[in-house]
Symmetry: C2
Amino acid sequence: MSTKAGGALTPDLDAAARPYAGASVLITGGLGFIGSSLALPLARAGAEVTLVDAMIPGYGGNLFNIEPVRGRVRVNFCDVRDPHAMAHLVQGQDFIFHCAAQVCHIMSLSDPFPDIDINIKGTAVLLEACKKANRRARIGKLGTRGQYGPSVKLPMSEDDPTNPKGIYEISLLAAEKIVKVYNDVHGIPATLFRLTNIYGPRAQMRHSRFGVANWFVRLAIDDETIQVFGDGLIKRDFVYIDDCVAAILQASSAETTVGEILNVGDDRPSCFRELADAVIRVCGTGRWEFAPFTPERAAQEPGDFYSDISRIRRLAGWEPRTSLDEGLRRTVEFYRAHRAAYWGTPE
Amino acid sequence: MSTKAGGALTPDLDAAARPYAGASVLITGGLGFIGSSLALPLARAGAEVTLVDAMIPGYGGNLFNIEPVRGRVRVNFCDVRDPHAMAHLVQGQDFIFHCAAQVCHIMSLSDPFPDIDINIKGTAVLLEACKKANRRARIGKLGTRGQYGPSVKLPMSEDDPTNPKGIYEISLLAAEKIVKVYNDVHGIPATLFRLTNIYGPRAQMRHSRFGVANWFVRLAIDDETIQVFGDGLIKRDFVYIDDCVAAILQASSAETTVGEILNVGDDRPSCFRELADAVIRVCGTGRWEFAPFTPERAAQEPGDFYSDISRIRRLAGWEPRTSLDEGLRRTVEFYRAHRAAYWGTPE
């Protein structure tokens, strides 16, 4: 842990990445939000990092994300569904972080096939590649708190029921269970992460379908109006990207977490009004207003959600360190500095 | 209910099919074990039955299964993954029983892709077809008790955790959840069945990978030796096909079961030794011996399982009627009479 100039605690990513020095690390979706955010501290720590990205238009892949470590990581453009490329790429890897996914839950309701194909079949392609070519690679598989569906209690823990309300969430739940089978039956060591709402630098910011907190930031930076659905009192746990990266790195270098499902969230939630207030306060621009739910959104809205993080706290010593204000401050600073690389319209 | 000559209670399939008189019914996997067994009473009751089957080699499709109603049902050879054929076929249907699936859990561990493609994507193709062309069709979706994985208590009820141990079971769990989303979000009324070990006439009998009870019957009819794994004391609930058909027909014609997951099983289990003893007693031929688990089988063996059937009993008034001895008697009688149509080697 390090104390920021502003007094806020932030995670020490260099310490979290240290166990990976000299290790070979493959990251699928490696040019996306979380994949690239993992790549940065890993490359700085001296890991041999290979990033796989399919660069599907509208998804998160963005070469600008890895500018700080360009030349120190290897970029391999291909799709995780490509069995021959993956069978080659997994060879010799010590760690594989599987971040590639279709991640929009609204899109999945009008067209379920990319989710099934990329998220489920793509995961099976990767794990079959490991089964055939490298069973000793340690897998970190990203999933979503959406896999739970509506909370049956708060906070939600990893053993609570999973009744997801969209195809996207179902696809990541199925993918998680597939990886668990390869862990249990084929002995490929894996940790299964269920991420809550992650926000921060390096996300896809061109459309509103990934990540509500980042979208609020874009609107405020552009001095536009944020729409807060319903009464704005629905609770969520928002986690800053660096905390998410620390969680994945700390847990995936621990022996205690093999075969475990781990929530990556925060047991101190905020409501959407608080989020909107904080974004506007930090930005100094923008405003927010109430808006009614669309019927599709209402049918899928799981209500209050926040995560029980006692398991990852116990097994990997992780908990989120960055306050919402500090995380938003860094997020706004990043996108103000690099706006052209993310939404590219004139300032 | 009717009392058999032998005194055993059996389900009254004509009564269960009566609500379907004059209705249009589509059955995917319609030439397979359960699909064809649904088709028979439905056709007799005067439903307009269309059977879809892909006739994939090694799967359950067998034209002999529908001999008794040939000419009274329409057979359409196609794959459920064919979006254009399915969009056409779902039009005007009042009921759709979705039985098509890859159903071998051992196969899924060496090659996960047919399960993902047929069971998950195929289900999404069917439901997308309904969403576009017929949202009023009532769906009956077949799943498996394997979706639970190891029992956390006995009997297992529909709200218990689902931690399946194979890709096949994961694929059917994902498919069930997909159908539930189309029920909840798109208003396509569906009932989700989780079937336990179903046995009886019209199954695929050429290889041992579907349905242990039927395989025991084949071995005994051929005067061969049945292998009982482990100590033979693992408990399962075996349900005779006519009871399974009655469950699906009764529940799918009730309004109370829309959106519900329903176990189709028996809360009075038998162990594998009892099954083997009963098969040999009923057949009068064959014998059984203990055999060690293979490592793959051991890794997947979920242990004792039987179903809490209080929900389907309450909502649809169903419970199994056929004793193991009576079900096996009818099974043996059927396959002895029609052996050539099922495993085709000389008697």
